[in-house]
Symmetry: C2
Subunit: 386 residues, 2 copies
C-alpha cells in the first residue's frame, strides 16, 4: 500500500499567474477557461431563468469545480446538481448549498457515505430514488443515522437510464416515501437525456413538450393523492429554452452551458437560432513534431480530450479551416488548409472541446485566462470522484 | 486560487483491504487488477524477451504506476518508457531506473522541467528528439544546467507521429547530436504504432519485418558514420513476438501486455495463435437501476471507461453473452441474453476494459484482488501528469 507521489501545487503553471502574455506560455496540454465568456454564460442563463420564472440547480458534473459552483450560486442558482456522490461530497465540503444527487445511490458503501454526507450538509441535500428496495434501504439508514433524508422521486422521462418507468410506479414509490420514517419528499426529478442533442430545434421542442405533458400527469397524480411536489427538477442545456415553456419544471439542471462544446454549439445553432452561450472552455496544445508532410503533431490526444463526440475544433493559434485528429494517447494531428502557414515547433494551439464534461474529467486544473493572460488556476475539485 | 478538496487516502475502499470476500463489496466504479494475472503477464513477457535475446523497457504510460514498474524491473526490465514528462517525473521520483521519454519535449516549460529531472535522475534518463531546433534547445539547456542529457534519435517508422521522416534526416540529426556539447546519444527509437492493431498476424509480421528492414538501414547508416547506436528501442504489444525476429531492436517498449484489453485480446488472438497474456484489468460497476425493460443500468460510463475502442466486455458477475453499452458520463447499459437472469439492484459486474491505457487514466486507484479478496490498493501515480 502506497500513496501517490504528490502532484505539484496547482500544477506546473502556477508561477505564470498574473504575468502578461502568459496564456501563450502554458505548459501543455492545459485546460483553459476564458473567464469573461464563463461569466457571460452564467449571467445569460441566470437572466433566462429569471425571465422564465424557473429556478436553476446547474449540473456540477460538467465542471466539478467549487469555484464555478460558487459563481453560479452567486448569480442566483439555488444549488447544484451532482451525478456522483463524490461530486456532492466535494460541493458540500466547499460550502455550496442545495446539493441534489441525480443518480440513485444503491450499494452499501454509497449509502454509508450518503448518510455521513447528510449529517454534515446543513444547507440542503437530496438524492434521486427510483426503486422501493432502494427507498427501504435509505429509510433504514437514515433512521439509524438519526437524520431525515430528502429524496426526489426519479421519473424516467423516456430516457430510461434511471427513474420509475410508469406513473403508477412513481405513485407507489411516492406513497412509500411519504410513509417511510426517516424520509421526506423533496420533489420529482425527470431528465430527458434523449432530447438534449436532437439536431433541430423544432423537433426538440415537439418532443420536449410531449415529454413534459407526461411528467405533468405524474405530478398531478401525486398531488391528487395528497403528496405535495414542491420541486420538479430536470432539463438540460439542449432544452434550456423549451423546458420552461411547458410550465411544469420548477428548476433546471442545465450543465454544459457554462462552457459549451463542439456538440452543443452545433445542436443549439440551427436555423436562425443563435444560442446565448459562447465557448468558454478550450484545451491548449503545443506542436511537438513538424516532420510529417500533411500535418503537425501536437501533445494533446486521447488523454486530453473526450473521444465520445466529434473531434476537437481548432481555434486560437490555428489558421482558419484547420482540422484536428486524435493520434494516440498523448498526441493529435493538426491539418491546416492548403496555402495556410503551419504552426511551428513549440507553437500553442487551442481547440474547442468535443464534449465538455468528460474532457474536464481528464484534467486536474483549469487555467483561467482573461485575454492573453493567465489570471488564476482552479482545481477540478471533483475530478474522478465517484 | 484554491487547492482541491483533499481526496480520501487511497479512496473509499481502503478499509476493505484483506477482508475475505471484499472484491464483491467495493465502492464502484472501481478499477480492479487481478494480481496473479498481472504477475503472470509480467513473467511471460520477461521469459519471452530473455528467450528472444532482447531487453525490456515496458511502457509505463499503460499503468502509470510505480508499484507495477517496480515489478517489471524486478522481473528483469532495464527500465521503463514514458510518453509524458510528468510520467517520467513520477517514475524517477519512485526510484525506477532507466527511464526513457518517448515523445520529444519541445516547449520552454517542458525543457526546464526536463533539466530539473535530469539533475535528479541518477539511474539513467533519456529523451526522444526528432528535430534540429529541439536538439539545439536541449543542448543549450543541458550546458546551462551543467549535466549532459542522453537523447535517442527518433525515427518515424511509417507511423509519422514523431520522428525523423527519412534516413538522411536521422543521420543529420545524429551528427548534430554527436557534435553538440551537453548531449550524448543513447540510441535510436522507432515506434511503429500503425502495426500494433493489424488484425491478422501474417499481415502484422510482413509489415513489421519490412519496417524493421528500413530501420536496420538507418542504424547501419549511422554506424558507417562512426556513430555508435548501442540501443534500438521500439515495438509494442501487438508485435511483441515479431519485433525480435528482425534482429534490429535491442529492447522492446511493450505496454499493454501487463493488463490486456478487448482490443489487444482480439488483435493477438487470430487463427491458432493464443497470446501468452491474459486479462488482468477490469472495471467493476454496480447495478443502480433495474426499471428499464431491456437492460439494467450500471454506474460506469464515459468517465470510467475509455471510449476510443470497442465497448467494454462484461465478465465476472454478468451472464455469458451479456453486452455493455455506454449510457452517458456515469452510467452503462448491461444487456443480458434472453432467458438469463439479470443482475439485481446493487449487484457488481466486472468488465474487460476496451482500451486499457486511457481507461486507467480515468481512475485514481487500482484495487488489487486475489480471487475474491481485495489485497491492496495502488495509486495510479501518474494519472493526468503531462
Amino acid at each position: 500500500m502506497r500513496l501517490a507521489v504528490p502532484a505539484p501545487r496547482l500544477g506546473p503553471n502556477a508561477s505564470l499567474i498574473g504575468r502578461a502574455g502568459s496564456r501563450a506560455l502554458l505548459d501543455t496540454p492545459a485546460l483553459v477557461i476564458d473567464r469573461d465568456a464563463l461569466e457571460r454564460n452564467i449571467a445569460a442563463m441566470a437572466a433566462h431563468a429569471k425571465a422564465a420564472g424557473v429556478a436553476l440547480r446547474p449540473h456540477a458534473k460538467t465542471h466539478k469545480s467549487v469555484e464555478i459552483a460558487r459563481r453560479q450560486v452567486e448569480a442566483g442558482s439555488i444549488g447544484v446538481s451532482c451525478v456522483t456522490l463524490g461530486e456532492a461530497e466535494v460541493m458540500v465540503g466547499g460550502g455550496i448549498p442545495g446539493v441534489h444527487i441525480t443518480s440513485p445511490q444503491v450499494t452499501e458503501p454509497k449509502i454509508a457515505r450518503l448518510m455521513a454526507l447528510n449529517r454534515t450538509a446543513h444547507q440542503g441535500l437530496s438524492v434521486a430514488v427510483d426503486h422501493p428496495d432502494n427507498l427501504r434501504a435509505l429509510a433504514a439508514a437514515a433512521c439509524a443515522a438519526g437524520k431525515r433524508l430528502a429524496v426526489m422521486i426519479d421519473f424516467s422521462a423516456g430516457h430510461n437510464r434511471t427513474g420509475c418507468a410508469t406513473a403508477a410506479d412513481a405513485l407507489d414509490l411516492a406513497r412509500q416515501a411519504r410513509d417511510a420514517e426517516g424520509i421526506e419528499i423533496a420533489g420529482i426529478q425527470s431528465y430527458s437525456g434523449q432530447l438534449q442533442h436532437i439536431a433541430t430545434r423544432a423537433e426538440r421542442r415537439a418532443q420536449a413538450l410531449a415529454q413534459a405533458g407526461i411528467l405533468r400527469d405524474v405530478v398531478r397524480t401525486l398531488e391528487r393523492e395528497g403528496i405535495a411536489v414542491p420541486v420538479v427538477s430536470g432539463g438540460g442545456t439542449g432544452t434550456f429554452d423549451l423546458d420552461p415553456e411547458a410550465r411544469i419544471f420548477t428548476e433546471l439542471q442545465v450543465g454544459s452551458y457554462v462552457f459549451m462544446d463542439v456538440d452543443y454549439l452545433r445542436a443549439l445553432k440551427d436555423g436562425r437560432n443563435t444560442p446565448p452561450f459562447e465557448t468558454a472552455l478550450f484545451v491548449q496544445a503545443s506542436v511537438v513534431s513538424v516532420n510529417a508532410r500533411d500535418y503537425v503533431t501536437t501533445d494533446a490526444g486521447l488523454k486530453a480530450f473526450a473521444t465520445d463526440g466529434p473531434p476537437p475544433e481548432p481555434a486560437l493559434g490555428a489558421p482558419a479551416g484547420s482540422r484536428y485528429e486524435f493520434f494516440g494517447d498523448e498526441h493529435g494531428k493538426l491539418f491546416v488548409p492548403p496555402g495556410a502557414e503551419r504552426p511551428g515547433l513549440g507553437a500553442r494551439v487551442e481547440c474547442v472541446t468535443p464534449h465538455c464534461d468528460p474532457t474536464v474529467n481528464l484534467h486536474d486544473f483549469y487555467h483561467v485566462v482573461r485575454g492573453d493572460t493567465l489570471v488564476d488556476i482552479w482545481a477540478v475539485d471533483a475530478r474522478g470522484r465517484r
